[in-house]
């Protein structure tokens, strides 16, 4: 059986910005220049593999501050072997593919790929900072 897999246009931006984003990543976790293309290749291959198996990876719990992630799946990957280790010593791959099976996991009509990111992706913080800055400027001029 083959499933229909489609990606949000933002995922293309995720991949295109991966190299530039690395300057905002803590040094220990940064993708080296020669790891960028292997990371992108792995990402595309994982997305393609969802056609055969959209149930791979782990279901996301959706913690208190991220409930919207409940129902999504995440697959962690890293172009480096062995995977880098986290502060507690466990292997911690640096990249993630996140998707959701729609309408639900028992009747999958569409596999929607939502994000492919580095585990330290600063774009949402910078976007929030920009929104805050704009709101403050609007407040001071109004």
């Amino acid at each position: 059986m083959s499933y229909e897999v489609r990606a949000d246009p933002g995922v293309s931006e995720d991949l295109q910005s991966l190299a530039a984003e690395q300057e905002n990543v803590p040094a220990d976790w940064r993708l080296a220049e020669d790891e960028i293309r292997p990371a992108l290749t792995l990402a595309i291959q994982i997305v393609e593999s969802l056609r055969e198996d959209p149930f791979q990876g782990e279901p996301m719990e959706g913690r208190a501050n991220a409930q919207i992630l409940r129902g999504c799946r995440r697959l962690k990957f890293d172009p480096r072997e062995p995977w880098p280790r986290g502060p507690e010593g466990r292997p911690r791959p640096r990249m993630r593919v996140v998707w959701t099976n729609e309408p639900d996991e028992s009747t999958v009509a569409l596999v929607r790929v939502l994000a492919i990111t580095h585990r330290f992706d600063s774009r949402p913080y910078r976007a929030a900072a920009a929104r805050l800055g704009a709101a403050r400027r609007q407040g001071s001029s109004g």
């Binding site: 990606a7 933002g10 595309i44 501050n65 502060p87 994000a115 992706d121």
Partner: protein, 109 residues
């Protein structure tokens, strides 16, 4: 920093007692440095001795916070994208082509 500090000579004299005490700990303290003892020449510190359990708990907490940070970041990206109309979504081929990696797809190899 640790509240207790010992010059190296004093720490050497008390070493077995100190190690016995810290290794008997069975429950992690709320703070990494609660039970830590700083040791160094002339009482100036530089080395910290602490229960392994406290170090492990602190490292596990850092890992947990990193996971929470990651989820929070992902939530920011995913929230807007869940509502993208299906007709605007990209095929796998279009996604691969957008980053110049169409050749890695299995049916194009």
């Amino acid at each position: 920093m640790p509240t207790r500090s010992l010059p190296t000579n004093d720490a050497r004299n008390q070493f077995y007692k100190l190690v016995n005490k810290l290794s008997r700990v069975r429950k992690a303290s709320p703070s990494l440095l609660d039970r830590a003892v700083e040791v160094g020449p002339r009482g100036q510190g530089g080395v910290v001795i602490l229960p392994k359990l406290d170090a492990e708990a602190a490292l596990a907490r850092i890992a947990e916070l990193e996971d929470e940070l990651e989820d929070f970041t992902l939530a920011g990206l995913v929230e807007a994208r869940l509502h993208t109309p299906a007709e605007d979504l990209l095929s796998v081929e279009a996604l691969a082509d957008s980053v110049g990696l169409g050749d890695v797809l299995s049916d194009r190899r």
